[in-house]
């Protein structure tokens, strides 16, 4: 009975020292420590218990079972880069069009006119790219 009293008093004292947030932090620290210990011990166990082989074949990159050929860093053709950039540009604009599309009935004719202005501007940009030859795939133009 006496010992129980003491323990609850001690707990109350600790509670006064540490707010509920403090207890949460202790629990979180314990959790992190436990997770790190488990992961670390598993890795160490794999290192000491596993058996290792090294061979040139094993060092090769795995390409769906096909033997790799050629260097790992080929020069990409520039049109690829341009097309990627255009894709990113026009893809971002879809976000604006989609945000109109989810509320098209609330925005009414005015919203339609505004989004039409936006899309026409994009179309003009596309025509410009086309005219400048940016969409021609191949090294002969530009």
């Amino acid at each position: 009975m006496a010992s129980e009293n003491i323990s609850t008093e001690q707990l109350a004292g600790l509670d006064a020292l540490m707010s509920p947030l403090g207890w949460d932090l202790v629990a979180f620290a314990l959790y992190v420590g436990l997770a790190c210990t488990i992961v670390g011990s598993l890795l160490l166990a794999a290192r000491f218990l596993g058996h290792r082989t090294r061979s040139p074949l094993k060092g090769q990159p795995y390409e769906c079972g096909v033997e790799p050929s050629g260097p790992a860093r080929p020069g990409y053709p520039v049109p690829f880069y341009l097309t990627a950039i255009f894709f990113v540009v026009f893809d971002v604009e879809v976000a604006f069009i989609a945000s109109w599309a989810v509320a098209y009935d609330l925005l009414g004719w005015q919203g339609l006119a505004q989004i039409a202005f936006f899309i026409i501007t994009l179309l003009i940009a596309l025509f410009y790219l086309w005219r400048r030859g940016a969409l021609d795939w191949g090294p002969q133009r530009r």
Partner: protein, 464 residues
């Protein structure tokens, strides 16, 4: 969006449609087309039937917004005219250049007319985005590429600070409307500390764009590497648009805790800019540091926080803008295929080769230094007296000291001009467009210095 709103937006729409359509104009006519679009926007801003136009949600169509739009459009037109010959000797793509300049003017106009934090961000980004490309437009020039990168990285940082600051101000005040956010912050909004932190971040982003002292480090390298007409637009237009915003729609001086910050920014800009400009031997770098000093003076106008100070600030912007555009335009008109005459040594003996341009450059530098019969003196006079009235005596003393020291670095290139030099001329005579722009800037500087009454009255009529 009603018809009235569309009418109110018409000058901005002209700039935007012009910047898109100029891409389809042939190479030879593109710059002229850009000039015509900018001038059309400037005229439309004062078309009579627009005076009834109503305000739109994001940008105001008040007199101040229209006056600023006119100013930026004229600067854009001057940039196009000044880069005609410069472009031809360097194989710039003219349609893209004109489109970017027009888009830049569009961004500046939105920025100085913004009534909301959203349009503030949009305008600043539109302007900066065009500058990122314009600064590095000369692809064959390695310093140009370096300048582009050095503008890009601080620009990104400034955008991040601005966006974060806007988010904090919105969180604290719950509105994007500029006048409401300032009023709520002054009244002590529920989250006063958060609002103050937000305004500080916005102030830091603005200081980046206006190159105030702790945030000025990109300025000299960018001015040196950028094509001279673009550097002129960057020095006059972009900084002018930022300060027009501070003078008209974001009176930061009303928020008392920000006043010491503004005063420190002003003092540091004057001190650092003055002492960094002293040892320069490169005209563009010297102009960069001198622009840091001039922006420090402009902060005085923001600090005064009342109508007279704002008018003085706008007058100072006009006189500084005219002198700066003309100085960079002169560098552009003196540059040949081999490069720009940036070093003082390259300017040696200019008075013998082309006396008019030497006289004009002398006049511009004297005006920037603030010699009496020119606009720079009158600008400093009205600005400093407004700041004295507002009670910032120590800042005015510092400003007087720095403009005294500035005579040294402004007169060093002038002395070189009138020496008998051996440098061979690399440039041809100025063409019509250059003569028009440089002559107009010179006339403005003289008139604003000798008879500033009409210009001051015009500014007083538009400042809200």
């Amino acid at each position: 969006m009603t018809g009235d709103m569309l009418l109110a937006l018409l000058p901005l729409l002209v700039l935007f449609i012009g910047s898109v359509s100029v891409l389809f104009v042939p190479e030879r006519q593109a710059l002229v087309y850009g000039v015509v679009c900018a001038l059309l926007a400037a005229v439309l801003a004062w078309w009579p039937w627009l005076s009834v136009a109503s305000d739109t949600p994001l940008v105001s169509s008040g007199f101040f917004a229209r006056g600023c739009l006119t100013l930026w459009a004229l600067l854009g037109a001057a940039t196009c005219l000044l880069s005609e010959r410069y472009r031809a000797s360097r194989q710039f793509a003219a349609p893209e250049f004109a489109a970017l300049v027009l888009f830049c003017v569009f961004g500046m106009s939105v920025l100085s007319a913004s009534t909301s934090l959203v349009s503030l961000f949009l305008g600043l980004e539109a302007m900066t985005l065009a500058f990122y490309v314009l600064i590095a437009f000369d692809r064959g020039n390695t310093t140009g590429a370096e300048a582009g990168l050095k503008y890009l990285l601080p620009g990104f940082l400034a955008s991040a600070l601005l966006a974060f600051g806007i988010a904090l101000v919105y969180a604290a005040t719950g509105t994007f409307v500029l006048s409401d956010t300032v009023a709520l912050t002054v009244a002590g909004a529920s989250m006063h500390t958060i609002a103050l932190l937000g305004w500080t971040l916005i102030l830091a982003a603005i200081a980046f764009k206006a190159s105030l002292a702790p945030f000025h480090l990109w300025t000299p390298d960018v001015y040196q590497g950028a094509p001279a007409p673009v550097a002129g637009l960057l020095a006059s237009g972009s900084k002018g648009a930022v300060f027009a915003l501070l003078l008209a729609s974001v009176p930061l001086a009303l928020i008392a805790p920000l006043r010491p910050l503004l005063a420190v920014l002003a003092a540091l800009s004057m001190i650092v800019g003055t002492f960094a400009a002293l040892p320069q031997t490169n005209l563009k770098r010297m102009l960069a540091y001198s622009s840091v000093v001039h922006m420090g003076y402009m902060v005085l106008a923001v600090l005064t926080g009342h109508q007279v100070g704002f008018e003085a600030g706008m007058f100072y912007l006009v006189s500084y803008g005219a002198a700066t555009v003309a100085a960079f335009g002169l560098v552009a008109s003196l540059s040949g295929p081999s490069g720009e005459p940036q070093n003082y040594a390259a300017l040696e003996g200019l008075a013998a080769r082309s006396p008019w341009r030497a006289a004009l450059l002398t006049m511009l530098l004297l005006s920037l230094a603030g010699f009496p019969p020119l606009a720079g003196f009158m600008g400093k006079f009205v600005l400093f007296s407004a700041a004295l009235d507002a009670g910032y005596v120590w800042l005015v003393v510092l400003a007087l000291f720095s403009s005294l020291v500035s005579c040294y670095y402004y007169l060093r290139p002038v002395m070189r001009l009138f020496r008998s030099g051996q440098t061979a001329a690399d440039h041809g005579p100025a063409n019509g467009g250059e003569r028009l722009v440089l002559g107009l800037c010179g006339i403005i500087l003289v008139i604003a210095g000798i008879y500033p009454g009409p210009i001051l009255r015009m500014i007083a009529a538009i400042v809200p």
